[in-house]
């Protein structure tokens, strides 16, 4: 019984990590492929300037780089907080 519930706890822990990892990977993929597809399909839009010197393309490119930071940061926040707490609980339950 004891072993079973511990096994379930680890399974839940593993599932939560893969879920978060997959969601964030998909988010990065969507942001990046979205950018690339705009570059490929809608060059005029990307060339449009918001203010003289700043085209939509440059803005979006910089935003994708910022998105990479933000998504990694979100993962670190989640992992250092919730995930590590659950992991400690699991370890202590040993």
């Amino acid at each position: 019984m004891q072993a079973n519930s511990r096994e379930e706890a680890l399974e839940a822990l593993a599932a939560s990590r893969w879920r978060v990892a997959a969601a964030l990977t998909v988010a990065m993929l969507v942001a990046y492929l979205g950018f690339i597809l705009l570059v490929a399909f809608n060059k005029p839009l990307m060339g449009q300037q918001i203010t003289p010197g700043l085209s939509i393309g440059i803005l979006l490119g910089v935003l994708v780089i910022l998105a990479a930071w933000v998504l990694t940061g979100l993962y670190i926040l989640w992992a250092n907080g919730k995930y590590d707490r659950a992991l400690h609980q699991y370890r202590d339950g040993k």
Binding site: A3, N4, R6, E7, L10, E11, L13, A14, R17, W18, V20, A21, A22, L24, T25, M28, L29, A31, Y32, L33, F35, I36, L37, V39, A40, F41, K43, P44, M46, G47, Q49, T51, P52, G53, L54, S55, G57, I58, G61, V62, V64, I65, L66, A68, W69, L71, T72, G73, Y75, I76, A79, N80, D84, L87, Y90, R91
Partner: protein, 539 residues
């Protein structure tokens, strides 16, 4: 070769400042190597710096491994000559890093010891998996190494006026010293010193440029648009077809998560948490670096001028050094040139070390000696492998002189993304992955990537000057990455392996909770599995 004086640049002339800075860098890093050599007595110290590198240090070292001279000089040049298109590359090269953080870094640290093959082979049969993984690793390392060495020879020839062969021999010899004597400890510190110098140099150069535009990047872009037309700020010819774009994008994104010299860095930190944080630092540093490089490219096109840049080097690789000369004089040119030289050294050292790990740890210790090689023998083989790879790098660098090897970086990423990444991910995430599945997955990915690149326009049209190519895409990622996954899954389902599935519980435990003590991974004799999880395999 280049009529440098009429163009008013000191490029290609022996530059005293550059030589002094370069000698200073080599002197300091060799002193580090001497210090590291005395601390490098075990294989763990040689391959993984004894696991004693902090998250921040490893973040800088990861960034150092990734920020090659090609991405510094190449992207600056691409932006200088074609504007916006350079940003597409910067973005592509960065987006692989978050994926490494989410999917790879922590499980890899918990499951492996020195190479990514440790992880794939953990619950599978050692010999076939190690052989295939070493094959993939050596393929990636060789192609990446050739591209770096040939690039190094050309760049140093242009920057310092040294002969191509001399440059290749200097890079090879100094790199051998780092790896042979200092192992991962020295290589890590060389990367850190190089990353700091490169970031500082690029930042100083960008500030000097922005100073002229009231610290407004937008004013700089606007000036570029005034000089070269508004299309500078819009996508140009780089991305011609959407399929091509996605294919290249996938290879760049997942290739980072399959580069052996990057994966190896995660074993240098004490635990999974440090591995996680180190990629966060690396992502920040690399993203910042690419944004700065973008400014440098536009700065060069406005302040140096496209005609002057292509006058020195058609590929635009000298844009950043020329910009340094324009804004800071010969001294600054010397500094940036020395940093570019140092950059190549450091990247080549990291690659060689990961190749040596595959040869010594995967092939010799595990396959040939079945894990029975004593520590001293493993270390000796590792050193011989480093020396051999270093010499091979010099020879290949000389052989490929004057060849257009740019496609080899794409090839290295394609193999890493299709040969290494799918097997790595499946082995960590999928219970029913088997030995045959892993071998089929890795070999399919590696071979199809090589064959399709050979049949692609990059090789057939650009290199061999044929009229058309049998395979239409320049990068095969969109075909080879899914294919490797499908082959891995199908072969695993066709040939189930009970033991591998049963040991998945152990893998999962270790992947999340970590090793009980920093001890051996992938034991030949399986650690006993908790009874509750021995379920009949569903496959």
């Amino acid at each position: 070769m280049n009529p440098t004086t009429p163009l008013g640049t000191q490029l290609g002339q022996p530059n005293t400042t550059a030589i002094i800075f370069f000698l200073l860098f080599v002197g300091i890093t060799l002193a580090i190597t001497y210090w590291a050599a005395r601390k490098t007595k075990t294989t763990s110290e040689f391959f993984a710096a004894g696991g004693g590198v902090s998250a921040a240090q490893n973040g800088f070292a990861l960034a150092g491994d990734f920020m090659s001279a090609a991405s510094f000089l190449g992207i600056a040049g691409l932006v200088a000559l074609s504007g916006f298109d350079g940003l597409i590359y910067s973005v592509g090269w960065l987006v692989g890093w978050p994926v490494v953080t989410f999917l790879i870094a922590e499980p890899l640290r918990n499951l492996g010891k020195y190479t990514f093959a440790d992880v794939v082979a953990y619950r599978l049969k050692q010999t076939p998996v190690r052989l295939s993984a070493a094959f993939g690793t050596l393929a990636v390392v060789s192609f990446y190494l050739i591209a770096q060495m040939v690039g190094a020879g050309n760049l140093i020839h242009l920057l310092f006026g040294l002969s191509y062969e001399t440059a290749v021999v200097i890079v090879g010899a100094v790199m051998i010293l780092y790896v042979l004597f200092g192992g991962m400890i020295a290589t890590t510190w060389v990367q850190i010193v190089k990353a700091v110098l490169l970031l500082a140099g690029a930042t100083a150069l960008a500030l000097a440029v922005l100073y002229k535009f009231g610290f407004s990047p937008v004013a700089l872009f606007n000036e570029a648009a005034t000089q070269y037309g508004a299309e500078t700020l819009a996508p140009g010819k780089l991305v011609s077809s959407p399929l091509e774009a996605i294919s290249l994008g996938l290879a760049l994104m997942f290739g980072t998560a399959g580069l052996p010299h990057i994966l190896m860095r995660f074993y240098t930190v004490p635990d999974a948490k440090a591995a996680r944080s180190s990629v966060f630092y690396a992502t920040g540093l690399i993203g910042y670096f690419y944004l700065v490089t973008f400014i440098l490219g536009f700065g060069a096109s406005v302040l140096v001028g496209r005609a002057a840049i292509t006058g020195v080097d058609k590929g635009g690789n000298m844009a950043a050094p020329m910009l340094a000369e324009v804004v800071g004089g010969t001294g600054f040119l010397g500094f940036i040139s020395a940093v570019a030289f140092a950059t190549i050294l450091a990247v080549v050292a990291g690659l060689t070390l990961s190749g040596a790990a595959a040869l010594s740890h995967d092939l010799w210790s595990t396959v040939v000696r079945k894990g029975k090689a004593p520590e001293s023998e493993q270390l000796k083989v590792a050193r011989i492998a480093s020396l051999a790879l270093g010499i091979l790098a010099i020879i290949l660098g000389v052989i490929f002189k004057g060849q257009n090897v740019a496609f080899m970086v794409g090839l290295a990423f394609a193999i890493a993304a299709s040969g290494n990444f799918p097997a790595l991910l499946l082995s960590m995430a999928w219970k029913n992955f088997t030995t045959r599945g892993a071998v089929a997955c890795m070999l399919t990915g590696t071979f199809t990537a090589v064959v399709l690149i050979f049949l692609s326009p990059t090789v057939q049209v650009d290199l061999l000057h044929n009229a058309a190519a049998p395979f239409p895409l320049k990068n095969p990622g969109i075909i080879t990455i899914p294919l490797a996954f499908v082959v891995g899954v199908v072969v695993s389902l066709l040939f189930p392996e009970r033991e591998a599935a049963e040991r998945f519980a152990e893998v999962r435990h270790r992947m999340h909770v970590g090793a009980p003590t920093p001890s051996l991974p992938a034991p030949e004799a399986p650690v006993s599995t908790p009874p509750a999880v021995v379920r009949p395999s569903k496959a």
